[in-house]
Amino acid sequence: MEYVLKAESLEKKYRGYTALDGFIMNVPKGSIYGFVGKNGAGKTTLIRLICGLQKPTSGSFEIYGVRNNDKKILEQRKRIGAVVETPSIYPGLTAYENLKMQYMTLGLSDYKSIPDLLKLVGLENTGKKTARNFSLGMKQRLGIAVALCGAPDMLILDEPINGLDPQGIIEMRELIIKLNREKGITVLISSHILDELSRLATHYGFIDNGKLIREMSAEELEKECRRSTHIEVTDSSCLSSVLDNMGFEYKITDEHNVDIFGRPNISQLTKALMPSGCDIISVNENDEDLESFFISLIGGSKS
């Protein structure tokens, strides 16, 4: 599998504080990589390192196969568009002028595509209104439009749907999916809104205290989060042979606990276990979504 971004034992320390600690990450090409973590986990720090705003204390990362300490990394960064924390826009300029500035920065002389870009993010009717007078959602859209200038191969979005109304969130989601599927743009997106992320991401990275806890594809996450029945029995080996006969998929947690993926008929199960002398102690249903999976992975209480 080809990776556009690889981080190897990345560390970033500030005075007396370690933001990233031996961080390892692999972002596959063409994926929408959802980056999930608590506040202060290190998500924005990683994005700052990748974008060249800060330098790592130790470790390295590669963008399109080029290491960060190679001078050619500057060329590879031109293939990235990013919105880091807050939109990077000039408040005294209009939306069109902001994009024109970005085009000039990138060395693009053809400004004909700017109106199309403004239309893509829903800012085509802003006219001579300066960015200073935009709402938060409009600034966010303009920031994303700036990131899209120059048709980047990779998009890095740090909390892109902050400040957007429900309609805006849907439009943003559709835009990201469209860019990914139609243009093959790899997207690295960090967000706290897990429900929204679950509709977008093809891969996930869970970060906590500067370390990547788990990295998995959406399919793997679905298997982890899918509906299951948790049964506590006196002997899980007896239960496993009964479940094999019944054709259920299951996972043995320990000698007394088993997760059954499906909805077994408990009466039938009890009847089937009686000859072997195995008793059912308790039965619970699990319906884990991304949020509860994240909480169980990272720790903390569900609000």
Partner: protein
């Protein structure tokens, strides 16, 4: 680099602070010129020095130099400092520009915008002066003064940019720049005073000592004149004459330090 400069100049020409300063400064100079001319118009003319001439230039065409520090801080702070406060500097870093390229771009933009304001102010005022009161024949001296004023102007630009970059914040940077520029101008003024005393010719100072004390309290260029009692000639001196070397030292020191700080700075 050219793309970067193009972006910076586009920003500059779309900045209200640049146009406001460009329009306001010549106006102030012209008003000063008219006021000074009225002062001289009632006097009995005993010599060529009692009419309008380039002798009055430091008081008129170069009036804005007395507030050049504030001009530089305003222009550089509003344009370059805006890059920090708006986060637009991040776009340039993500676009693949190195820190050295960025800093050089900011440096050149700062110097060009301040020079534009300074030169246009001075030339416009001189042109209007010649139109209203006649050409005085001291054009080469005027040009010499203009050219020589560029060195300390550039030094103040370098220092102002350094303060804003080191602070990483527009407001704090602008305040630090004003204080820093004040200290540098005091050093230039002190240097001129020392130079004047090292001169072997007998020099009688025309209100010189008092002028130094008053003027050194202001963050401005020192400008005064010496009367040589032997030749009875007026030798106009400004802070630029002895300070060209100091200007180069200032620029080099703060340029290199600015590059180092900017290279290592963690951006947010």
């Amino acid at each position: 680099m050219i793309k970067l400069m193009k972006t910076n100049f586009y920003k500059m020409f779309h900045s209200w602070s640049f146009w406001l300063t460009l329009l306001l400064m010549p106006f102030i100079n012209i008003m000063t010129m008219i006021t000074k001319n009225e002062e001289y118009s009632g006097r009995v003319k005993e010599s060529i020095y009692d009419k309008w001439s380039v002798i009055q230039c430091p008081e008129t065409c170069f009036t804005h130099l007395s507030s050049f520090v504030f001009i530089a801080v305003l222009l550089i702070g509003m344009i370059i400092g805006d890059e920090y406060s708006s986060g637009a500097i991040r776009n340039k870093l993500v676009a693949g520009y190195s820190r050295i390229q960025l800093y050089t771009g900011y440096l050149l933009t700062s110097i060009v915008e301040c020079f534009l304001v300074h030169i246009i102010c001075t030339v416009v005022c001189y042109g209007i002066c010649c139109t209203l009161y006649g050409y005085d024949g001291y054009f080469l001296t005027f040009v010499s003064m203009l050219v020589r004023s560029l060195a300390p102007a550039a030094a103040l630009c370098v220092l102002t940019l350094f303060c804003i970059v080191a602070a990483g914040n527009r407001i704090i940077g602008m305040v630090a720049a004003i204080l820093g520029d004040l200290i540098i101008c005091l050093c230039y003024s002190a240097n001129l005073s020392v130079y004047a005393r090292l001169d072997n010719s007998e020099i009688s100072e025309f209100s010189h000592k008092l002028y130094i004390i008053i003027d050194s309290l202001l963050p401005s260029f020192y400008s005064g004149w010496f009367v040589d009692p032997v030749d009875k000639a007026i030798d106009l001196r400004t802070a630029i004459q002895p300070s060209c070397g100091w200007c180069m030292i200032t620029m080099t020191l703060f340029c290199i330090t600015g590059y180092i700080i900017f290279e290592k700075k963690d951006m947010k």
